[in-house]
Amino acid sequence: MSTITTAHSAVRALARISLYPASSHGASFLAAKDKTRRAVVSFLVALLFAATAGAENKAPGSIRIDHAASHAMVPGAKVGDGYLTITNTGPEPDRLLGASSERAKTVQLHQMSMDNGVMTMRELKGGLVIPAGQTVTLEPNYHLMFQDIAKPFKQGETIKAVVSFEKAGEVDVNFAVGKIAGPLDDVGGVAGKMDHGTMNHGAMSMPDMDMTNEAGGTAHGDHEGHAQ
């Protein structure tokens, strides 16, 4: 758990720092550099994931979800987002297929890509492969997008959703709602956990997830720190 957390933050920091240099260039110039950097970052991320994967050892075919968090919706905004970290602790690859929630008519899995300073979001129809023994973080390249929301997400609440996988089936995930934008490190904790085939929702560890206020988030972070 703590290993993953550390790697997760490191990857995030790495992606931010490396992808976007201090120097400014014309928009067209950004493209080539971006690609090279992205390749380098991907490689480093892969290395990190490979390193953390060894530390986790769970039942075959199990999927674990951490750091499920959403931003509070800005007044006027129509869509909500959802980020999570998925660890496949089993020996076989699985595939994230999609998600659903009572709070939104549709939930799409999106892929973000940057080209020449232009950002494009596309629905990832074929799902996202979670390789065996690896952790995939949906930020920053992927996210869930909640659409047609009747009641906007508010900071401090929890959005219940069901995330489905090709092999692991449906996993209940609680998204902790943080501030309107910026990093969600302070709210995203262990959101859901399940072992392949058992569908034992009762066994999912999601303590205190409904208490996603500032204090709750901090306390959770401290706990993780001690676990190291």
Binding site: Y20, F29, V74, G76, T106, M114, Q147
Partner: protein, 200 residues
Amino acid sequence: MKPKALAIVAASAATVFVGALLALMFSIYIETPRAVPFDADFSLIDDQGRPVDQSIFKGHPALVYFGYTHCPEACPTTLYEVADWMNTLGEQGKPLRAYFFSIDPERDTQEVMHEYVNAFSNRITGITGKPEEMKKVADGWIIHAEKLPSENNDYHMSHTVSLLLIGADGRLKGLIPYGMDRGQALAKIRDVLLTHSNGA
């Protein structure tokens, strides 16, 4: 014989050197952001319904961003950062303006924009209006914005997510690429917009 060979070598070396120098100069030229003059007349409204035209880019240095309120990630993140930068710059940042132009003006009405920008900061002005007028501004700054249709008649926008730094003279002074580190972004704003006393 020998001097001749030497001369050939020297001439070749000189040619290579000059060639390399030209290549270097060209690459620097390509990489240097040029102060693109904005040359378009347009007529839009701000989030309080007041008319906005091309004169908005003159007289104050400005942070200018093109986005939309259905934007899942880049726009809220950027506006959140802009609000933070404006706060952090304090007194020094007083002359600075921040404009959020909607590239999705059909859905982003004046009311929607008003609520949206004010959730981040009351120093950010939302600007919307007729799509064809907005296109003039976006094209003027070479901003890419494109509708990507999805299911249920919905669509997303594919768009330029770099923030424009525009001087009080109405010229582009630089870009802040999406995701730039906070310290670097602040240093850049100070450097290109606030230290040349061009803040009117």
